[in-house]
C-alpha cells in the first residue's frame, strides 16, 4: 500500500517536472528568439552602448531559464531512480527556476553602469536553492 502511494507521488512529481521543464523551455526559448530578433534587426535601444548591462541580464535570464528547464526534464527522468519522493529537491528546483532567471530579468531594470538593479539579489538565493536541489536529488537516488 505504502509503496503504491509512493509510486503515485513519484509519478505525479515526474509529470509536474516534465510540464515545468517543457513549459519553461517554451518561455525561455521564445525569450531567446526575441533577443535574437532585437539583435538581428539592430534595434537601437537594445544595442545602445549604455545598455550593455541590461542586455547581459536578459541574456543570462534566457540562458539560465533554458538550462533550468532542461534540469526539470532531467529531474523528472531521475525520479525513476529515486528511493523516495524527493520533495525538498523538487521544491528547491522550482524555487531556483523562479529566482535565478527572475533575478536576472529583474536585475535588468534599474541597472546603473556595470551594476544591475536590486532584483539581482534573487540570484544568489536561486543559486542556494539549486545547490540544495542537487544535493537532495543525489541523496534520494537508489544506491
Amino acid at each position: 500500500m505504502t509503496e503504491t502511494i509512493a509510486s503515485t507521488e513519484l509519478e505525479r512529481l515526474r509529470a509536474r517536472h516534465l510540464r515545468y521543464g517543457w513549459l519553461g523551455l517554451f518561455v525561455f526559448v521564445v525569450l531567446g528568439g526575441v533577443l535574437e530578433a532585437l539583435h538581428g534587426f539592430k534595434v537601437d535601444w537594445y544595442l545602445a552602448v549604455g545598455n550593455e548591462t541590461t542586455r547581459l541580464m536578459w541574456r543570462l535570464a534566457h540562458a539560465h531559464g533554458t538550462f533550468l528547464s532542461l534540469v526539470h526534464v532531467a529531474f523528472a527522468v531521475s525520479i525513476a531512480h529515486a528511493e523516495r519522493p524527493a520533495l525538498l529537491a523538487s521544491r528547491s528546483l522550482l524555487g531556483a527556476t523562479i529566482a535565478l532567471p527572475g533575478g536576472f530579468l529583474l536585475g535588468a531594470f534599474g541597472a546603473d553602469g556595470g551594476d544591475p538593479g536590486l532584483g539581482i539579489a534573487l540570484v544568489p538565493l536561486g543559486l542556494v536553492m539549486l545547490l540544495v536541489a542537487i544535493v537532495a536529488t543525489l541523496r534520494g537516488l537508489r544506491r
Binding site: A48, E52, D115
Partner: protein, 639 residues
Amino acid sequence: MVLAAATLILLTALLPLWSLAGRSAKAVAATLTLLGALGLGLGVLAEAPAPQPVAQRPLAQADSGYVGSASCRSCHPGEHASWFRSFHRTMTQVATRDTVVAEFERLTLDWFGSEVALEWRGDRLWTRFDRRGARPAHVERPIEQLTGSHHLQVLWYSTGDGRELAPVPMCFQIETATWIPISSVFVLPPEFRDPPEPGTWNRTCTTCHATAARPRLGELGADTRVAELGIACEACHGPGERHVAANRGPIARYLHRARGGDDSIANPASLPPARSAEVCGGCHSVRILRMQHFASWNEHGSPFVPGDDLQRSHLIVGSDDRDAPELRHELRKNPHFFASNFWPDGQVRLSGREFNGLRSSPCYQHGDHERQIDCTSCHRLHPDDGIVDERWRNGQLREGMSGDAGCTQCHHEFAERDAWWAHTHHRAGEGAPSCYDCHMSYTSVGLMKASRSHAITSPDVNVELATGRPNACNQCHLDRTLAWTAGHLSASWGVRAPELDPEQRTVAASVRWLLKGDAGLRMLAAWSYGWAPAQRASGRDWQAPFLARLLDDPYYVVRFNAARSLQTLDGYGGSLRGYDFVADQADVQPFVDNVTAVWQARWTGGDRPQVLIGKRGLLRAPFARLYARRDDRKVYIAE
C-alpha cells in the same frame, strides 16, 4: 596558453575511457588523466612571452594613482564603449597596420621637391627622408606613434634619442585621402616648410594628446611617460586608483549608488559649472602654466587634475592678461603668441580652444549658477541615449543640440517658433539661420577649416571695425556690404550704426575680407564661400572669380580652402583637375586664369556692383585695386 588548451582538449577526450569496464582501462585512464592534469597545470603556469620593452617611444604606464581605462570597463561598460569609439581615444595611438588610416605598402611622397618614403616592412612602418631644420639628418627610422584619426593623421618616428619622437613631414588628410605637408595644415607663411622639430610631441603635444603625461626631457634624451596614450577616462575624471579601491566590493557600490555616488573621482557631468568647464579647458584653451609650476613640469607634468580650479595652475589667456608674468615670459619666447592666437580684443582665433571663448560669454559669466552654462550644457562625452553614431562622434553633441536647443534650453522665450522668427527678423522658411549662426559664428581657424567661436556674442559692425573679426551677418550674406548689415542691425535690434567709409558702404564685406584681408581673414572668407547656408543666402553664381584669385595665395591653407569652396560650386571640378595647392606659384597661377575665364564665359547674372561684377563680368579695375591692398603681414595660426 596553447599547451593548456591542448591539454584540456585531451582530458575531455579521455572522459569516455573512464566509462570502460576493466581495471586496466581504468589504470590507463588514471595515468593519462594525471599526466594531462600535470600538463594543464604547467600550461596555465607558463607565462606568455614578455612583450618587447618599449624603448623608442613614450612609455604608457599607469602609475601615480592612475589605473588605465581597462579598469573602468567592468563598472562603466556603456561609458567605456562610447569612449572607445570616440576620436579622443584615438588621438594618439601606437602605429600598426590597424591604426594607420592610409592604405598602402610603399609610397614616395613629394615634400616641396624632396622625397619622403614610407614603406611597410612586415608589420612596422618605416620612413626615409632628409630632415631639415635645426637638426638636419638623413632619417631612416620606424614609425612609432600616430596623432589623429578624424581629420588628419600625423606619423611620428623615433629619433633614437631615448623616447624622443619627431614627425614625418607629410601627414595624411583623411577628408581628401591625400598626403600633404604638415606645414600646409596651418596658417603659416610659405617659407615655413619644415614640420615641428624633433621632441615636439614629448614637449608639447603630450600635454593634451595623452593622459597624465610627464615629459621627462633630459640631457640624455627624452624619457617621456604617460598614464595612457590618447585621451582616456582619467584625462577627464582624474586618477582612478582611489575610486577603483572604494568600489571593488558590491555592497560598497550599492551603498554609493543609494547615496547618489561617491567623491573618490571627478565627474564633469556633476561638477559645478565652472569646475566642469575647466576639465575640458584643461586642454581646450590657450593657457600658460603658472610660473610656480615651471620647475616641476618636466618631471611631473601638468599639476591640473579634473575637479581642480584650472586657474590656480594655469593662466587662461585673455585680453586683460598682457602684463601677467607668464604671458611676458611666453612672449619673449614667441613674439607672435598673442597675435597668432587672438583677435585684438582677446577673442580666441584658434580652433580647439573653446574654453577661452566660453569664459568670456555672458551665459557663463552671469551670477545665476542654476543657468550658468558649461561644456556639458551642449556636449556629452557619453551619449545620453547610448547610441554611438557618426553624428555624435563628429561633434559629441547632446541629443538635439545641433539645432537651437542649446540656446532655447535656457532662453525659453525663443522656444516658440513665432517668437523665434520675430527675434531673428528673417523670413520664415528654408535657409533660416540657427541661433549658433548669429551668436557663435565661424571666426576660429584650425584643421584647415573654420570653426565656431564659443564666445557667445551678438553681431555688431562696430566690433568688426575695432578688431577686424568678421561679423556673423556678412559671413552668411556674402554679397552684402557692411552698411547693409549696420542698417539692419540698427533697425531691427537697435545696435548703433557706425560711421563707414565709402568702400565699406559700397563693396560687399566678404569681398573686402577675401581680397585685402590678412591670411587668416582670407582663409575664413574662402571657407565661408563654400558654406552651404551662405550659398543659400547669397547665391552660388558669382563667387568663382574671387575664390580663383586665392588659388595662388602665398598661404597654402588659404589656397586649399579656396579650392575646396570652388568644388562646391557647379562646373569647376574640371577646371581644378591637376590643381595641387602646395605647388609652386608658377604652377598654380594658370588655374587662377582658367577658373576666372570659365566663370566669365558663363556669367549672365547682370550688374552686381557690390561684388564688383558688371553686366559683362568682373569689374577688373576695382577688383585689382582692392587686391593690391592685400594685408601681407605675416600670420602664424598653428594649433
